[in-house]
Symmetry: C2
Subunit: 339 residues, 2 copies
């Protein structure tokens, strides 16, 4: 046992007291958010539901927060990163599939024929996703995703995709967890694709990631079991699929939900319709300089009907350009946008 003399202990306390303002500053939650209406709404909500004795107090077990991923926690332009992964995988796997040279939509991917690829439409996309996401075990697929993430970079910023995450939203996840919330992803992205990196990047463990799923098949293989991913869609976790999977998998109604597109509207409606205080937020992509400005007319992450409902139902609209001091952690804080 280490013994301290009284003067030593006193000195430690003094040091701590002197450092206190610095510690406070470091621990300041939501530090990349300007003092705008969204930060105010978030902190007021959290304070209200976590104040013991308040009529709006919510027990920790019920503090479920759900987040869309694409366009809410990380970028989704020029297209969903998972699609960019699938296209890269077609190129990587091509040597094993000589027939793809003559087969659409694979031929279009290999030749970089954007027109033919677009013409192949949803059917083409399903074939590409099927060929790159299924027919292998979950473990093998996870390894493929990790190998891709380790070397792929975003076409515009040339940063790894796992750095294309929104710094203010990372801070929001931390802030909620520090206040006893359980943070979930509920995304149209495929679940194993996300789990390959969400724990490291967002601090969200696999069991709190909900997404689109394929039908899987348990195989025993003489004592070496594996879970095979079949090309059959099990659940499309988009639009109404989000409250449905929340009900099936979490079994509790969230008290906070964040999205950015019409695909999140039902999840926010479902969250809003519970009793007691609720928080519904939408990231509004208003920032054409630091990110991409898009909403009602966008092909990716279209925000139209949900934008109308956010206005009529008083959901929080986060104005990215005005309310975020920076978008990505690799950017410096944009001083002129501080208030």
């Amino acid at each position: 046992m280490i013994k301290h003399s009284i003067p030593t202990l006193r000195l430690r306390w003094l040091t701590l007291l002197l450092l206190w303002p610095l510690l406070l500053q470091a621990a300041e939650p939501l530090s990349s958010w300007n003092e705008g209406p969204s930060k105010k709404a978030i902190t007021e909500f959290v304070q209200t539901v976590t104040t013991q004795g308040s009529k709006d107090f919510v027990a920790p077990a019920e503090r479920i927060a759900v987040f869309d991923n694409d366009g809410t926690l990380w970028s989704e332009q020029p297209m969903y990163f998972q699609i960019l992964f699938a296209l890269d995988e077609v190129k990587r796997l091509a040597p094993q599939h000589p027939e793809w040279k003559e087969q659409q939509p694979f031929k279009a991917v290999l030749e970089g024929d954007q027109k033919a690829l677009t013409e192949s439409g949803m059917d083409g996309l399903i074939k590409i996703v099927g060929a790159t996401h299924t027919g292998i075990s979950t473990e093998a697929f996870t390894a493929n995703v990790k190998a891709w993430l380790a070397k792929a970079v975003h076409p515009k910023t040339h940063k790894p995709y796992t750095e294309m995450v929104y710094q203010p939203m990372l801070e929001l996840l931390d802030y909620l967890r520090a206040n006893g919330f359980k943070t979930y992803i509920v995304s149209g992205g495929e679940v194993a694709f996300m789990r390959a990196w969400t724990e490291e990047v967002y601090g969200i463990p696999p069991e709190q990631v909900i997404g689109t799923t394929f039908v899987t098949q348990y195989q025993y293989n003489d004592g070496k079991p594996q879970i095979l991913r079949t090309p059959k869609l099990a659940h499309n976790d988009d639009g109404p699929g989000k409250p449905e999977s929340i009900d099936t998998i979490i079994g509790r109604r969230p008290i906070l939900a964040f999205g950015n597109s019409d695909g999140d509207q039902q999840m926010l409606q479902w969250t809003a319709a519970g009793t007691g205080k609720r928080f519904m937020g939408l990231v509004h992509h208003t920032d054409g300089n630091r990110e991409v400005a898009y909403d009602r007319e966008s092909k990716v992450g279209k925000l139209d009907k949900a934008l109308d409902q956010a206005k009529s139902d008083n959901w929080t609209l986060v104005d990215m350009a005005k309310e975020w001091q920076r978008v990505y952690s690799f950017e410096p804080v944009t001083k002129e946008q501080q208030q």
Copy 2:
């Protein structure tokens, strides 16, 4: 701030020291388990994976423990309690369905015609489950389950069904959680049926309950959204369905799995095939006095192939009659069975 004089503090320490043996006894884990091979295997496993620095140490986040429910955590004789619920619900709902008086299998249920009911087979059962479990919202269904549990009693013991849980298994759940494990149910039972009571009875929250599911449908209804349960089966959480749902929903491989029947065999295989130390356990229903003795020939909870694999692969077989001092918490400890 309350100040204590040195003598007062010393007295408190003395009191604590004197009480120490009593405190230890009260906190004794697995106190309804005899000092048999199963208790030894469980405690050795837990000690090994939780010892920092040990080569078999498992980080808390990876300490996933999965439990079957029927026959593993609560009884399943004379038949699955969920079926008993469905039969009672047919009777309760009959006034709203005058046509059931002439329609099988409902007629058989209402008239107590065991022979006709058995003849209706799986098709009949699906109709009964459909009529009592679907066509309503998750919230309404949950309320029905709770109302039934509040008054229904087991045909043999006349105890509420939520008391027909195995005291030694409750202690095992507590022991694992006290050692940083996350405890899950992975059961053939329908997920909302279980969630209505598992948090209160087992301390397992809804998001850690995995089971058989129906396809649900989100409906908006003019600002009053609900999740409708349709009669279409989404996932049958039995046999190979168990490792499949573990992979889809948890996304990590468990390090401990407990079951009692052939429907758990694949879950135990999947658990066993991971790297590092693993624990696979089966509750063996050997106790015809305090519960029901059954295994290879039983219609409910048949344990045959998994019993063979338990023996060949050295899984832990819990001999209920010999290793449990009591089965249910309402029983006194059976002294003669203590060692």
